[in-house]
Assembly symmetry: C2
Homo-oligomer: 216 residues x 2
Amino acid sequence: MQIAFLLYPGFTALDAVGPFDTLGPLPGAEAVLVAERRGPVRNDSGSLSLVAEASLAEVTAPDIVVVPGGPDPSGPMAPGPVREWLQEVDRTTTWTTSVCTGSLVLAAAGLLTGRRATCHWLNLDRLAAFGVEATGERVVTDGKYVTAAGVSSGIDMGLTLAGRIAGDRVAQSIQLLIEYDPQPPYDAGSPEKAPADLVAEWRAVDLAQMLTPQGD
Amino acid sequence: MQIAFLLYPGFTALDAVGPFDTLGPLPGAEAVLVAERRGPVRNDSGSLSLVAEASLAEVTAPDIVVVPGGPDPSGPMAPGPVREWLQEVDRTTTWTTSVCTGSLVLAAAGLLTGRRATCHWLNLDRLAAFGVEATGERVVTDGKYVTAAGVSSGIDMGLTLAGRIAGDRVAQSIQLLIEYDPQPPYDAGSPEKAPADLVAEWRAVDLAQMLTPQGD
């Protein structure tokens, strides 16, 4: 069972690593970090690089694809090699998944049209514009498409999918081993729960512009 | 405010990336991934590499140090450059922190002696053996030492520390932007909550031996 984690410049590290450390431990799983070219791929802040160990051309039939998001996913959303690769491998995946604005990347490739899916709370409108039934739910499964809301929700997505693939007991083992017993010090993790003025403030900000990577 | 994330072969990716994406966005923060030598550092499963952008010698006075754990942290626990670096930089840090078995690394360097600290639930006895008051709490602050329990608890640690450093509102913003509104599909994230037989099973396993990295 090959699990391909797609990397592209500007991805959010936790989007990729949450599912990596919840799906990667599945029995028989082979995790592979893949990008247009092999080598280091820089994240949204510009201060972290994950290494793609395979190019798109080297990963032709993954069983599972995980697409992380980022503040500005316009690169992988545009026509080009990443979009073509997603369309191609999606034909034979068992599961096609995303975290955060990764669902915009899937939607731009036409893979979510007419389906229910979720996204980072700041981007639900953009998702809907692709003809997707955009929900604010944390993890949405529609057929073989599993999408997660913002950044940290990739952990919940990974555990949910782990349970579907390998059963509750294996998924519970993974949860126990990563000690996922969340105790956030605040209750501000969703636009419904965070202080209203804070939510309004962030709705007015252009995150993609604010986070200027330090270059490559 | 320089935040140094220590990497070493066999680290757990989520241990490092949880704090990275919660502390990294702090105003004025400069995140740097550091290892004995610059270059890719392989994780516990062997299928992921994060790039160290600086060597230990290049990071001499970080304000914050974050030490991730791994199933077998015996490398950074042993006498050698990493331990010496930790002892050296700890003299001037504002905060010295760890996730998971990263607290064993701090303890082996003598930095937690006589202090309260936490660790991955499977390793609390090992932590106590270093003369540490080992608690099962998720995040423990004792002076400038902030330790987190297993793997995913680094997110809670990061948000807790973000609040201490920059105030509640900034920490809540970070929580909102990473949409940290956890909804695990199971309630098995701690040894108290997981099925008892599952907990017993994992207590009987040598994780360090089970997870054999695929080499470098």
